[in-house]
């Protein structure tokens, strides 16, 4: 059995939050406040307030339709917000060459001109970007044995994704936005793609936001998390801190009001014999009856998704937790 508890409050982030381990003066790549987007009557994003410090690789996680693509498109300046503001690399996303030069955006569909070769794309991008590292694309694709002279429409999905990523990286953006880049790839291509990405980020020190609906895809490469569900931000911050702040408390089946009064309970699972709480800590847990343990990123994300899921789905999640 499970009770559902509303956990109010917008996104928290390490920046500007008292007690955060990182300094408040840390430069910020992305800062949004109250960002909302409606398409007609459909609300795609509601009151989104997130902060991503520079140099982070941020996982943008949420179920399908949660608003991940909308958020990325707003950040890239491809869509205009209905309400709220976004600041990306210190300016509002807009159609000026200087802003665009600092953004790399790779859409989910991996858009490339199918009849053009990788070499054609390299030359086109060379004409369209002030900073352009053509040699890096050729090197990367040669290393992956991807032919430069073949129409990209004839390449495999994994190869196309690699071409698109290499082109996006060669632009040398300060902020890289990737919308479900690995969703269509097989496990090997997925690993190659994320490996190339991680290497490039390590070399250039850019900020990355990488969306996916699967935690496992992102756990290895990301150090920051934004979680969306039902068009709202559920969780936002550095993954290490989020994991430290949350604990799984397991204890006898008893009244948990004292804990709920002090800490923020994200998820409660009760069986006839024991109670399991996933809490966001606010100081130490004093009750000796409860044994605290660390949570995994997957558990954390599922807990926050569960509190937003429809009852039937939440129930299934709860059963899964029991076993």
């Amino acid at each position: 059995m499970m009770t559902r508890q509303e956990v109010p409050g917008p996104c928290r982030s390490s920046v500007g939050v008292p007690g955060a381990s990182t300094g408040a003066a840390e430069p910020v790549a992305i800062q949004t406040s109250g960002l909302s987007k409606r398409y007609g009557k459909v609300t795609a994003l509601t009151d989104c307030t997130v902060t991503v410090p520079e140099g982070r690789i941020s996982a943008l996680i949420g179920p399908n339709g949660a608003g991940k693509t909308t958020l990325l498109r707003l950040l890239a300046g491809l869509a205009r917000p209905t309400a709220g503001q976004a600041s990306v690399n210190g300016t509002t996303p807009r159609q000026v060459p200087a802003f665009l030069a600092d953004i790399g955006f790779l859409a989910q569909e991996i858009p490339l001109y199918r009849r053009l070769s990788a070499e054609d794309h390299i030359r086109a991008c060379g004409h369209l970007n002030p900073r352009w590292d053509a040699a890096s694309v050729r090197d990367r694709l040669n290393a992956l044995n991807i032919p430069l002279d073949r129409a990209v429409g004839k390449l495999s999905g994994g190869q196309r994704a690699q071409v698109a990523l290499a082109l996006t990286l060669a632009k040398q953006p300060r902020l890289l936005l990737l919308d479900e880049p690995v969703a269509a790839l097989d496990p090997l291509a997925r690993r190659n793609f994320l490996g190339v990405l991680a290497d490039a980020v390590a070399a250039n020190g850019m900020t990355v936001v990488l969306s996916s609906h699967l935690v496992a895809d992102l756990e290895r490469v990301c150090d920051h998390l934004i979680m969306l569900a039902s068009s709202r931000v559920q969780l936002c911050g550095d993954i290490d801190e989020l994991l430290t702040e949350h604990q799984m408390l397991v204890g006898p089946r008893k009244d948990t009001t004292a804990i709920e009064r002090r800490h923020r309970v994200v998820q409660v699972t009760r069986t006839p014999r024991q109670t399991t709480l996933l809490v966001r800590l606010n100081g130490p847990v004093i009750d000796p009856a409860f044994e605290a343990s660390d949570v995994s990123l997957e558990e954390l994300v599922l807990a926050y998704m569960g509190q937003d899921a429809p009852p039937a789905l939440a129930h299934l999640t709860a059963i899964g937790e029991d076993q």
Binding site: L78, A79, L100, A107, P111, L112, Y113, A124, H127
Partner: protein, 325 residues
Amino acid sequence: MTWLVWRQHRIQFCLGAALLAAFAALIVITGVQVADQYHAAQAACAAGTGCSHPAGLFLGSRVVGFLVISTLGAPVLVGLFWGAPLLAAEFEAGTTQFAWMQSVTRRRWLTVKVGWMLLAAAVWGGVISILVTWWSGPDNAQQLDAFKPGRFDIMGLVPVAYSLFAMALGIAAGALLRRTLPAIAVTLAGFIAVRALIALLLRPHYLSTVTTFYNVVRGYTPAGAYWQTAQGVLSPDGRPVPQPNNVPYLYGIPQNALPASCARAVNGTSPTPSCLQALAHYRGFISYQPADRYWAFQGIETGIFLALAAALIALTAWAVLRRDV
């Protein structure tokens, strides 16, 4: 941006240029022959060695003549095959997201793409018009029909304006519908509808027609390549004489409306003086646009289609730049 436009559309550009070159070769070769024949016939006529019938002059080039008339449809081709897919194909393939994420604003992307396509359309319409106008020179001089619907539309400035309009229509349809095939269909239907409406309903009224009344026996023909919009005869009481088909006419008057004194003249015998006297009370009239208004009409029609093209480009800019994607 220009490099990308060229790389994306070079096959289209080359194909278009090849078609123009083939058409030009055909027109120049046959055109020189037609002009030679025409000048030879004129010289022979002036020297009094016999005026050959003008109809025979162009018999040898009937196929080319048909091709020349069919350039009526040339402008819409650029709208169908270049204009409609220009943006629609990019939206369909999602490649707008590739182009818009380079360090180039959407406005510049659109301006360069549309700019080159409009230039290509103007060249297409212009080259075809120059060739057709030159080829038709002797024909026009002989037939005096350059102002008539169908001929007016394939010569001078208007083919350039039609081509620009067709291109703009195709681009706008592609920008709004975002699907290539529907955009092509809308371009074809829209082009035919607008061209027909303007040619049939609007063009006759750009300037009010000149109406000349004349003696039916002497007759009257306006000078040069005029465009006749109406012609008829007024009876002595000032009412227009109905003009039924399949009855014999004398001086433009049908048999049943002729004065009695002219009854026998219909059969070919020369009219009697009393008949001619009676006919003096009839007045012929002709409503027409004089030949010297040709360029004014070309200018007005060109202006209308350029304005329509400009409006469509503005609509395209709104659809691409203002709307979210």
